[in-house]
């Protein structure tokens, strides 16, 4: 079985409920949620003048190809009322594929592993919650090792 990981995020309205609705929608689309991280408060990325996010990483199992999975995630986003808007702007629900087993993909609208995963400490932290042993494709370090190494470089950032 391939290990597939998604990042869920919301920063408008009842964020916890939005995430729970997205999880239900995944189930209804025949996508099994195997593991869930906690939902964590994070700083908005890219565009800082907007509310914080609540983010969660989940491990799923499904029969879909990466392309099909992306289609389903986008359809859940649309269904839940996210209009195609500003990149990195506020959103009711955001669903991203972080990893699809050991596969790597480089297409215009679909890059796997997620191209910004390693830039985002919170994503690594959440991934470390549920999959510390996972070794991302092209890497020789597990998530846990990566997390431990990087956190020790100790630079402090401040957001909004």
């Amino acid at each position: 079985m391939e290990h597939i990981y998604l990042l869920l995020g919301s920063n408008i309205g009842n964020v916890r409920q939005n995430i729970d609705r997205a999880l239900t929608a995944l189930k209804h689309s025949n996508i099994k949620v195997l593991k869930k991280s906690t939902a964590r408060i994070t700083q908005p990325w890219g565009k800082a003048d907007q509310p914080d996010f609540l983010n969660m990483v989940v491990q799923i199992a499904c029969e879909y190809t990466p392309r099909e999975l992306l289609g389903i995630l986008k359809s859940i986003e649309r269904e839940m009322g996210r209009t195609v808007g500003e990149r990195w702007g506020p959103r009711i629900i955001d669903l991203d594929i972080l990893f699809y087993g050991s596969r790597t993909l480089q297409e215009d609208d679909l890059v796997i592993p997620h191209p910004h995963f390693f830039d985002r400490p919170f994503a690594v932290a959440l991934m470390n919650d549920i999959a510390p042993q996972f070794v991302p494709p092209g890497s020789d370090m597990s998530i846990a090792e990566y997390y431990r190494d990087r956190i020790h470089e100790r630079k402090t950032i401040h957001c909004h």
């Binding site: 964020v15 916890r16 991280s37 906690t38 939902a39 964590r40 408060i41 994070t42 700083q43 914080d52 609540l54 400490p121 919170f122 932290a125 959440l126 470390n128 919650d129 510390p132 990087r150 956190i151 020790h152 470089e153 100790r154 630079k155 402090t156 950032i157 401040h158 957001c159 909004h160």
Partner: protein
């Protein structure tokens, strides 16, 4: 800038609230008021059988926290500064997790009545961490009455706390992702936090270690 006289530190079990309150009190010349949770005669029974002793435990906490908060509101906050290692609203977070629906409905009526007498913090600091990190700390510090705590319970608390603080607006809020900070061993980290407390202008801010 408005002086921050009443500062509250909150976080899930194991986040290091009490130690940080001590360090900050020392640095900011503040009085410190600590939660007296070990006085709760139901606590060890509760961790052994959560369902059975939840209501007793909650009511005892509600009563003792209320009493302590009333004492804080008597303190002359014009001439002194106070730091506590808990937020009164934590009582309700725990109640919602641990009580049955009926019990919680009853609890919430009492809570609603007394909440209005609770002094509002001038600043709240929330120590955010992953359940794994907290669980390891709890095991490491090995407090007798915490030995029975299960991982799933910590996970549940993290979720409830994070959702609660996402919507929190009772006071300005400083969220600290504590992984990567070591307030006990590195005084620089305490300096940094003190500086954040003094300069915070926005209603909320997240501080974390970045690579």
């Amino acid at each position: 800038m408005k002086e921050r006289r009443f500062i509250v530190i909150e976080g899930v079990i194991g986040a290091g609230k009490t130690a940080l309150a001590g360090l900050l009190a020392n640095r900011l010349h503040a009085g410190i008021i600590q939660e007296q949770f070990e006085d709760n005669p139901f606590l060890d029974k509760f961790y052994a059988d959560r369902r059975k002793y939840a209501f007793h435990t909650q009511l005892y906490f509600l009563m003792s926290r209320y009493k302590q908060q009333r004492e804080i509101s008597q303190i002359d906050l014009f001439s002194s500064r106070v730091i506590t290692d808990y937020l009164f609203a934590k009582d309700r977070i725990f109640a919602e997790i641990n009580l049955s629906e009926d019990e919680f409905a009853l609890y919430d009526k009492i809570y609603g009545l007394i909440e209005r007498d609770i002094p509002r913090p001038d600043l709240t600091i929330y120590l955010q961490a992953s359940p794994d990190f907290l669980f390891r700390r709890i095991k490491h510090r090995d407090r007798v009455f915490e030995r029975e705590i299960e991982y799933e319970y910590i996970e549940q608390l993290c979720n409830s706390y994070n959702t609660f603080f996402f919507h929190y607006n009772t006071s300005p809020l400083l969220i600290v992702d504590i992984k990567g900070f070591d307030f006990l061993r590195r005084s620089n980290d305490v300096d940094l936090l003190c500086n954040e407390i003094k300069t915070l202008k926005e209603p909320r801010r997240i501080i974390s270690r970045q690579w």
